[in-house]
Structures are given as C-alpha cells and as structure tokens.
C-alpha cells in the first residue's frame, strides 16, 4: 500500500530548513518514515540550503574566532547518550527518535475514541498525541484554531479529501471542518500535531474538552 497524501512542498522545505517547531517536525518525520518520495525532496531541499549557505554574504567574525576554534579542536568529543525506547505497546511507523520519548497512558476522549499524549522533551506550541478509534467511528469532528498535522500509523480513515491509510499526511487549518470516519478493518491510529485549541463540535466534544488539556 503506497502513500497518497503528502505534506506540501513549502512544509517540506520548512522541515529541511529546521524552521518547524518540534511538534510539527515529528508529524512530518512520521510521514517521511513511510515516504521515500518526500525523503528525496527533503534531501533536495537540504541541497538548496547548502547552495544558499555556500553563497551567503559573509558576516564579520570575532578577530580571534579561528584561534579560539583551533584551540578547541583537541577537546574530547562529547558522548552522545544512546536513548532507549521507554514506552511499551507503541504502534509501528513512528520515527525512531520519537520512540524514545515518554508516552502518557491511553485515555478516553469520546465514545470509542482514545488519545495518548506524547510528552515532548521541550516546551512546544504544538501538542502531539496518538488518536485511536475502531472502524465506523468518527474521529472527533472539530474546528481548528490553529494548524493541525495528522499522519496515519495504522488502519485508515476517510473524509472529503479522500482515503488516508498508513503514512498518509493530512493538513488542517481554520479553513477546513472535516469529518473523518474510520474505514473497515483494523483500528485506526494516527499521530496528531496540533497548534492552538480545538473547538469540539457538539455536547460530547465539549464534554471531552477538559481531557485534551495535555
């Protein structure tokens, strides 16, 4: 099964430039884990970064910059701590670095919909969580106050934009109000990176609202 829905080129360029915040970087990295096509594009955008860097206008360095750097060349290389996978029962398809993060427990947020927060190692404007629901269930209808990136890990959902299976990437902002519904088959688990607050539609959504303060 191949990936159909990709992040747009500007998002991939922002990823390559290091301009996305950690939460959004995780969502794009999750897609990249499944998509060789976008990995190629990220590689190409890094080459753009290299070409622009090579030709950038130079800034004046401190007069002792080279000497200070030369003096540090013999310092021992700091060891990079290996990071172990800490959480259990993780779905497949997560980028390796995310597997070493701390995951909260699954909690119920609506009938048959549950959510599992991912604890980021730094403050981020973006909240990241896994969202899970079985076949036939609506994946929470909501409005956005900020952009939201979703990448499917297992199963599939469908909305007006098409069918989203493993690796597919969906971008939502305040201009869309989709009603994703899980397709027949295994449970659908998605990674969601969300900025701003969610305005849940309907009384059930409002009931779930307090649970989403991650």
């Amino acid at each position: 099964m191949s990936v159909v829905h990709h992040p747009d080129d500007e998002t991939l360029a922002a990823f390559s430039a290091g301009a996305l915040d950690l939460g959004q970087r995780i969502a794009v990295a999750t897609h990249l884990t499944a998509c060789a096509h976008c990995r190629d594009w990220v590689r190409a955008m890094e080459r753009v970064g290299g070409a622009l860097l090579a030709e950038a206008a130079p800034a004046a360095l401190a007069s002792d910059a080279l000497d200070r750097t030369l003096a540090r060349l013999d310092e021992p290389t700091p060891a990079v701590a290996a990071r172990a996978r800490t959480a259990k029962d993780l779905p497949s398809g997560l980028p390796r670095f995310v597997e070493s993060y701390r995951f909260g427990g699954w909690r119920w947020v609506a009938p048959r919909v549950s959510l599992r927060p991912i604890v980021l190692p730094e403050a981020s404007a973006t909240r990241v969580f896994l969202l899970k629901a079985p076949a036939g269930v609506g994946l929470l209808r909501h409005d956005h106050t900020g952009p939201e990136m979703t990448c499917v890990l297992t199963g599939a959902f469908r909305h007006e934009g098409g069918r989203y299976g493993p690796g597919d990437f969906d971008f939502g902002d305040d201009t869309v109000n989709h009603e994703p519904r899980v397709e027949e088959g295994e449970d659908c688990v998605c990674l969601v990176a969300m900025q701003g607050d969610l305005r849940w539609s309907g009384w059930l959504g409002r009931l779930a609202q307090p649970f989403l303060r991650l």
């Binding site: 500007e10 990995r39 070409a51 860097l53 950038a56 800034a59 701590a81």
Partner: protein
Amino acid sequence: MIQNAAPRVLRAMYVSTLNLGLPPPPGVFRAALTALRRTSARRFTSNSTPNLTTVPDNRTASARDDRWVALIHAIGARQDRQAFAELFGHFAPRIKSYLQRTGASEAQAEDVAQETMLSVWRKAALFDAASAGVATWIFTIARNSRIDAFRRERRGGAIRVGDAEAEFEIDPTPGAEARLAAGQADARVREALAELSEDQLRVVRMSFFDEIAHSDIARTLQIPLGTVKSRLRLAMKRLRGILDQDL
C-alpha cells in the same frame, strides 16, 4: 560577479596549494580552466540585466566543491589543521550570517558558527561524498547546531548533545536519491536555483534562511501576503519540476 569567479578560484587555489600541505586536487585546475572558458563564452550571450543571484556558474562551483571535499578528507584522514582553517575561512562567516538571519544575536551566531565548525572537524571522517556535497553537509550541521543551541539556552544547558541530529535521521535506507552522485545532484540544484526568477529566488532564500513568518516577508518586500505565498509555491513547483526528473 560570475565573470570574475573563475580567475579568482584559480588564483585562490594556486595560493592555497602553495600554503597548504595538500596535494593539488587532481582535475581541479583543468575544471577551473574549463569554467573560465565557459564563463567567458557565456558572458556575451547571457542576459545583460544585473543578476543579483549569487548562485555560481556550475563548472566553477563544482571545482570549488572538489576542493572542499579534498579539505574534508584531509581533516578526516590526518587532522589537517590548515585544511580546517581554509574551510573555516569560507564557511564560518557564512554560517554566522545565516544564523543572524534566523534571529540569533551576534554573540549566539558567533558561538554556534564556531560550534558548527568544531562538529565539522569531529565528524570529518564520517563525511560521505557519495551522499551529500560539503556545503549541504555543513548546512545540515549548522541547522542542527542552531536547534540544539536554541534549546540549550531555553532549558539552561539540559539538552543532550546531538538531539537535533537524531530528529533529522529519518531512515538510513537510501531511496531514489541514490540514483545521482552527490556532486551531480548539487549541480542540478544549482542549475534549478539559477532558473528561478530573482523574485522567486528571493522568497526561497528568505523562507529558508529567515526565521520569519510569511507575513513579515510580505512586509519586508512590500508585497501582499498572497503574493509571497503564491511566489513561494510557484518557486517550489518550478524546483520540483526541474529536480523531480532526476533526484
């Protein structure tokens, strides 16, 4: 500026091989000479409008790329400090200006530029010329160092070394990108950039280098926000069109 590049490179290479304990990189002089011929031929045929883009002529650039690869190998193989100094001379001031454009203070930019070059020294033996050009490789190290430094500052030094690097290591399995050698791929990217209009190149550069919202780009360039977005989208589409065939 393109028309002077080839003689300058020749002169710089001549001087640096005199000063350096490096063997003269094979083929580089020939390449630069070819570049000289090419650029002087092209000088009269290319458009006469002053070109603000600094994307260099490909032959010139690839001769320079070869030189940089030789420098990195000299560092990796035998900790050649003079090779390091030469690389530092080109890249450190440019990394600093890149960092300042992304919003770093002068002091931060200076620190991270030095930190980046220190990583270049330490990782030189790991450099794989088959997978990325030197400038691209240094760009990714600078990008990662910038992210780590920003975190270190916000968290008071609690960040682990190399966190950002891990976040960009998606999958070691090479995809279709392995079809082209890194040098060729870099050349294609340069060609693609050179094909962009000046306006398109400007928004690409800003969105790449400047950590500012598109709305700020609009204000700086005094064009409507929609124009920034469509210009960037168009530029990306053009890059995509040129690069997709062979990258």
